[in-house]
């Protein structure tokens, strides 16, 4: 029997789309001043314009930083940790209460499947606030001395792949540690950050503790270069990360960077095959491959390559691509035309370099930005698709013969964010983990995240960790 799932779209009615004429500064939505502009944010699945948003100029960033400074000095840094924590608990609760609204808005603005925004992004964002709420009055137990101090005002710039979740990763630890923030969401996905601003109001968070300035790269540059901030936290591309590192080098500002990756997912011939295939799929097609820690290089032991690839293709044929608001969609839209062009260029380089491209039969919608789940076999280390971060649903497959060769190939990249190891042999997992130059090693699983688990990269994947006890260090004066 042919079992076609009927469309099961999540209702959009929970979200009220409107133009967000303003920036969230000092606890209120205020219009942009001279030097500001407006930009449109579109649904990548349909190219429908969702809203007009303010692009913050220099004066706006000044105001936001001043508001954060005032809140830091007058309110937030002097408030007992216990009371700070209660605000964070409130925010966590409101995120849970408004989870459906946030999930729908995230899916509209980002293009990711509603299943992911509903089951991953939003619950994890709430969990992040919940976890850090508890740290607010326990910082003296975190291992950074008896009374660690906050840094001051943090300037935070986040990417478009997990808009709300990245906001939570940035804001929750900053606030728990007693800092105030000015955060700039990505220009293609500003909406959940603006809804979060509303949630701050709903939680009666003191004005100025959280400020949201929307805009593109220029706004981000103004923020990270602003003399009034004490700390910069950035998640995004390695290229921009290096530029920010140069800026902060001159100002001696504290900086954490969570950048790109080209993770190796290493599958041995004694791996639990069905779960390994799930892990490969989850590693590269989760969130359309818009994941800095995506398992974009599959390193499979030669003796198992044929079986694993056959199983992978069979599994890829069941992936459901389409309307991100459909609850059964597995693969959503590419976030922007620009990103789609980049993915296409790199995929074409794979063809040109002689790798073999395969995608399951799948119909791409007429409107919007789409790229099918794709696997390249016959890839060698020299190919661009084995070296450059594609940030899309494109997997490059390489083979290896011995554990040492797997380690060598896995580490042969300027990146070092994450890695995966699949084998039923525990001692080999630990041997591999000890040699992989990556900030996170997943064994017999992939793309797992938890607020208690530190995340961050080696080498050009950035520095500093987010999450867990270790993540607090980025927002505390530990010197």
């Amino acid at each position: 029997m042919k079992f076609e799932y009927a469309p099961a779209p999540e209702s959009r009615s929970i979200v009220s789309l409107r133009d967000w004429n303003g920036l969230f500064i000092g606890g209120e939505f205020v219009p942009g001043t001279g030097g500001s502009g407006v930009f449109k944010t579109v649904s990548p699945a349909t190219e429908e314009v969702l809203a007009e948003v303010t692009s913050a100029g220099a004066e706006d960033v000044d105001r936001a930083v001043a508001a954060a400074r005032a809140a830091y000095e007058r309110t937030w840094s002097v408030m007992p940790g216990r009371e700070r924590g209660k605000y964070l608990f409130r925010i966590a609760r409101i995120l849970q209460e408004r989870s459906r609204e946030l999930a729908v808005l995230e899916t509209l603005d980002n293009g990711k499947p509603i299943r992911e925004s509903r089951d991953v992004d939003v619950p994890l964002a709430a969990a992040h606030f919940f976890y850090h709420a508890g740290w607010s009055d326990k910082l003296s137990y975190a291992g950074y001395g008896p009374s660690p101090r906050p840094l001051g005002v943090a300037g935070q710039v986040i990417p478009w792949n997990f808009p709300l979740l990245m906001l939570a990763w940035k804001i929750a630890p900053a606030l728990a540690c007693g800092n105030t923030v000015v955060l700039k969401p990505a220009e293609t996905t500003p909406l959940t950050a603006l809804l979060f601003a509303e949630i701050c109001q709903q939680a009666d968070l003191p004005p100025g503790v959280v400020n949201i300035v929307t805009g593109a790269g220029d706004t981000g540059r103004l923020l990270v270069g602003h003399p009034g901030i004490d700390k910069v936290a950035f998640t995004g591309s390695t290229e921009v990360g290096k530029e920010i590192a140069r800026t902060c080098a001159r100002s001696r500002r504290r900086l954490t960077l969570e950048l790109g990756g080209k993770a190796a997912n290493v599958v041995f011939d004694d791996a639990p095959v069905d779960q390994a295939v799930e892990g490969i799929v989850n590693g590269i097609f989760f969130n359309q491959g818009h994941v800095c820690c995506a398992g974009s290089r599959l390193l499979v032991q030669e003796s198992a390559a044929e079986d694993v690839l056959a199983a992978l293709r069979r599994r890829m044929a069941t992936l459901r691509l389409g309307d991100p608001l459909d609850k059964n969609t597995d693969v959503g839209a590419i976030n922007s035309a620009k990103q789609l062009a980049k993915i296409r260029t790199l995929a074409e380089s794979g063809d040109a370099d002689g790798a073999q491209r395969w995608s399951p039969p799948c119909v791409l919608p007429d409107r919007g930005f789409w790229f099918p789940p794709t696997v390249f076999t016959g890839v060698s280390q020299a190919h661009r698709i084995a070296r450059e971060e594609i940030f899309g649903p494109v997997l490059s497959v390489l083979t290896f013969r011995t554990p040492a060769e797997a380690v060598e190939k896995a580490n042969n990249t300027p990146y070092g964010l994450s890695a995966g190891v699949w084998t039923e042999k525990g001692s080999r997992i630990l041997w591999m983990a000890g040699r992989l130059r990556a900030g996170v090693v997943w064994a017999n699983t992939f793309n797992r995240f938890d607020p208690s688990s530190p995340f961050g990269g080696y080498k050009e994947s950035g520095y500093g960790r987010e999450g867990g006890r270790h993540g607090l260090e980025a927002y505390l004066d530990v010197h």
């Binding site: 216990r82 924590g85 209660k86 608990f89 969990a127 919940f130 976890y131 709420a133 508890g134 740290w135 607010s136 009055d137 326990k138 137990y141 975190a142 291992g143 554990p403 525990g426 001692s427 080999r428 630990l430 041997w431 000890g434 938890d450 607020p451 208690s452 867990g468 006890r469």
Partner: protein, 294 residues
């Protein structure tokens, strides 16, 4: 409560409540059928509370043991969420708790409310520890050899607690929360003279997401019940801080029969930040070795 005692202004007769035990998520009467009069700080009658027997204590330990597997296996995040929800419910009963604290201690309205607020904050403080204890108390062990080693805290099991007398609500919360946050289950003997906050807390727990049996509340005589808990071979730890001497020494001696972990920290200043001692007192450390190799 004292305000419920007589007829109201309009001649309405108040509906009085029968106070019962809290065992395994249910509210049974004492199997002994006994009760005792609870009075306010001036000696005025407040209510009859169940006078628990040794069999009630036995039943409570059985319930706590039964609940241990599930509660200790819940994720730390889940325990944290469940305990935070309790704090929300406690806050909702603020007025009732304040009235009970006042009746018990004769404290001024402000002072009683301050104790309730501190109790809620204390519960929140402990709730936040659920998913942090392992990170503060655990370790990776750099052993000299091709092995990966780590040590993790684990709950010890069933904990018997004698609730403090000096602080009927804040003290009570301060001895229960540190035991259950890490996954232990508890049998608490409420303070004999002022058990009403403990009974109300059990009603809060019963309507919360805390599984039945994780906290069991007995009301009755310490001298009668505590020896049964202290000597019980299926109790893993006991908090004797509230026991007066020489009873405390006698109980500690019986607790040695199965080498219970014994806490004797005194019935002190409950308003100070508690530190880690009580949580750590109910933790075992488990060390794991695993080879590293191809």
């Amino acid at each position: 409560m004292s305000t419920d005692q007589g007829a109201g202004a309009a001649g309405r007769i108040a509906v009085r409540k029968t106070y019962k035990l809290y065992i395994g998520g249910a509210f049974p009467r004492s199997e002994s059928g006994r009760s005792y009069a609870v009075t306010d700080h001036r000696g005025g009658f407040l209510a009859n509370a169940a006078l628990a027997s040794r069999k009630d204590a036995r039943d409570a330990v059985v319930a706590a043991r039964k609940a241990f597997a599930g509660w200790s296996a819940a994720t730390a995040y889940n325990r944290g969420q469940v305990l935070y929800r309790v704090a929300e419910l406690l806050e909702g009963r603020r007025a009732q708790f304040a009235a009970e604290v006042r009746a018990a201690s004769g404290a001024a309205v402000r002072a009683a409310e301050a104790e309730v607020d501190a109790a809620v904050d204390r519960w929140v403080w402990y709730a936040g520890w659920a998913d942090k204890l392992t990170q503060v108390r655990g370790s990776a062990n750099p052993v000299a050899g091709p092995y990966f080693g780590f040590s993790l805290p684990e709950p010890t099991g069933v904990v018997a607690v004698l609730a403090p007398v000096s602080s009927p609500l804040l003290g009570l919360v301060s001895v229960i929360a540190p035991a259950i946050v890490s996954g232990n289950t508890v049998v608490v003997l409420a303070a004999e003279r002022c058990p009403l906050p403990a009974i109300t807390l059990s009603e809060v727990l019963a309507t919360s997401d805390v599984p039945g049996g994780v906290v069991n509340v007995l009301t009755g005589r310490m001298a009668e019940i505590a020896p049964w808990l202290a000597s019980h071979m299926d109790v893993n730890a006991i908090d004797l801080s509230a026991a007066p001497e020489p009873l405390g020494c006698e109980l500690a001696e019986s607790a040695a029969a199965n080498l219970k972990r014994v806490l004797r920290l005194g019935d002190g200043d409950w308003s100070a930040e508690p530190g880690l001692e009580r949580m750590f007192g109910y933790l075992e450390t488990k060390t794991v070795w695993h080879p590293v190799g191809i």
